[in-house]
């Protein structure tokens, strides 16, 4: 059965359509989900699926989708064709009036070869009634040109967008960068994630310097981010409640210009970041009375190797709501740092002794297992064993 036959069928028998269409479309890489639950999720996985979007206008059984996942097929010609079909579908308001969640994923095609298509698409991101936008993909190279301009951007954003996830370079390539910046600067975004992008430190500084997001509550950033630019960004966005910083956060001699006496992050609830970032934030965030959970990336557990961690723990006694402290260890650098006997340290003087508010402690190792030496300190005097009930 071809599209023409299907169109004829769709106009003559809705019941037959309901029985046949989902399976027919699934075989063409267009998957319909949640049709019985009152909503509708559309997954587009291959070019034939995109071509089948044309059925929407002729079949009365199709309702406008609420969620769309669009995997743009690999290959320049296929990707261009898929984007054409997609734009044709999305430009019809009757198809998109219920669309809230849009996930666009580019599968390995060089985005610089799709610049003209991205330019055509960019108006869509302003007019669609989206609340969530996810720009992802699988990149096999770094595509962000060193000369890309991350300042300004278009002067409009989305009125409805509250969640933005960027995990691929194409959001910052010439066809889309001005749109991305416009969305970031002019949309009421509450949740922002940016990771797996090849922005260099200078570009991160420019990007974060451009953003002043009044509605931002949750942020998750991963990359080669200069620490001063990061701290300035966090200071600017006073509504932040949950912060995750991953990756190599670089320090240099520059410090945030704001006086240390000024309170920052008054609404902070959870923070996960490398030790240096946690120190910089906790140093200035003494007016974050609600901080509940702190997750710190440390290089070693032993206090001798992490004096800055000790200073951080000292500061934490002022955060009375702190309930959960997490320690994240990198893959064991056993050869880089010689093992140290835990008994060399006076644990009775450890600043954690005064953290009576902490009820949960967690340890995590991203790759491999925690070494037994890190975990168990068999020679540490343990007077508590004496108190254990027999």
């Amino acid at each position: 059965m071809n599209d023409q036959n299907l169109r004829v069928l769709a106009t003559t028998s809705q019941s037959i359509c309901r029985l046949l269409l989902p399976e027919y479309l699934r075989r063409r890489d267009l998957v319909l989900k949640d049709t019985c639950a009152g909503g509708l999720t559309v997954q587009l996985l291959g070019l034939s699926g995109y071509a089948s979007l044309g059925l929407w206008s002729v079949s009365p059984i199709f309702r406008p989708p609420e969620e769309m996942y669009c995997s743009i097929p690999c290959g320049v010609q296929e990707a261009r064709a898929a984007m054409e079909f997609l734009m044709y579908f999305l430009l019809q308001p009757s198809n998109t009036r219920n669309l809230r969640d849009f996930h666009f994923s580019l599968q390995g095609t060089n985005p610089l070869l799709l610049t003209s298509k991205f330019i055509k698409m960019r108006r869509l991101f302003y007019v669609l009634p989206l609340t969530r936008l996810n720009l992802s993909g699988y990149d096999f190279a770094d595509y962000i040109p060193p000369s890309i301009i991350l300042r300004n951007g278009l002067s409009c954003g989305s009125c409805t967008l509250t969640s933005l996830v960027i995990s691929s370079d194409y959001a910052f390539t010439p066809g889309l960068v001005q749109t991305t910046m416009g969305i970031l600067r002019h949309s009421p975004i509450k949740n922002l994630m940016v990771y797996m992008v090849s922005l260099n430190p200078s570009q991160w500084s420019t990007l974060l310097g451009e953003l002043n997001m009044a509605f931002l509550e949750d942020v998750d950033l991963e990359g080669d981010i200069p620490r001063p630019a990061l701290i300035r960004f966090l200071i600017k966005n006073k509504g932040l409640r949950n912060i995750i910083i991953r990756g190599n956060v670089r320090s240099d001699r520059l410090q945030p210009s704001r006086s240390r006496s000024q309170p920052i992050l008054p609404n902070l609830l959870t923070l996960r970041a490398p030790l240096e970032v946690c120190c910089a934030i906790i140093e200035q965030a003494s007016h974050s009375p609600r901080l509940y959970e702190l997750q710190v990336e440390v290089s070693r557990l032993h206090p001798h190797h992490e004096p800055s961690f000790l200073r951080l723990v000292e500061k934490l006694q002022h955060f009375r709501k702190l309930d959960h402290l997490g320690l994240h260890l990198p893959p064991s650098p056993a050869s880089a740092i010689p093992p140290t006997d835990p008994n060399d340290y006076d644990w009775n003087a450890h600043p954690a002794r005064v953290l009576r508010q902490v009820r949960t402690l967690s340890f995590s190792q991203r790759r491999g297992r925690l070494s037994y030496g890190d975990i168990v300190c068999p020679h540490i005097p343990s007077p508590i064993f004496i108190t254990l009930p027999k």
Binding site: H350, S362, S364, Q365, R369, L370, I375, C377
Partner: protein, 68 residues
């Protein structure tokens, strides 16, 4: 790690998360004995999950495919 656990005076819960799998019962056992205030200790080692709780009738680690 035991030293850290013993340093926090009011600790109730300890979680350990790591890659890999294999028996970690001895680790769980060591951790929950490290401090009398503890109510829950959980070790997530790859797909293996072991948990000890003070309220359990049998205070033995158990294995489960699902993390909590």
């Amino acid at each position: 790690m035991c030293a850290y656990i013993q340093s926090f005076p009011m600790l109730e819960t300890v979680h350990v998360v790591e890659e890999g799998d294999g028996p970690r019962a001895e680790l769980l056992d060591t951790l929950h004995k490290a401090k009398p205030t503890l109510r829950t200790v959980a070790v997530f080692s790859g797909s293996l999950y072991l948990k000890w709780t003070a309220d359990a009738r049998e205070q033995q680690p158990f294995m489960d495919d699902d993390h909590e």
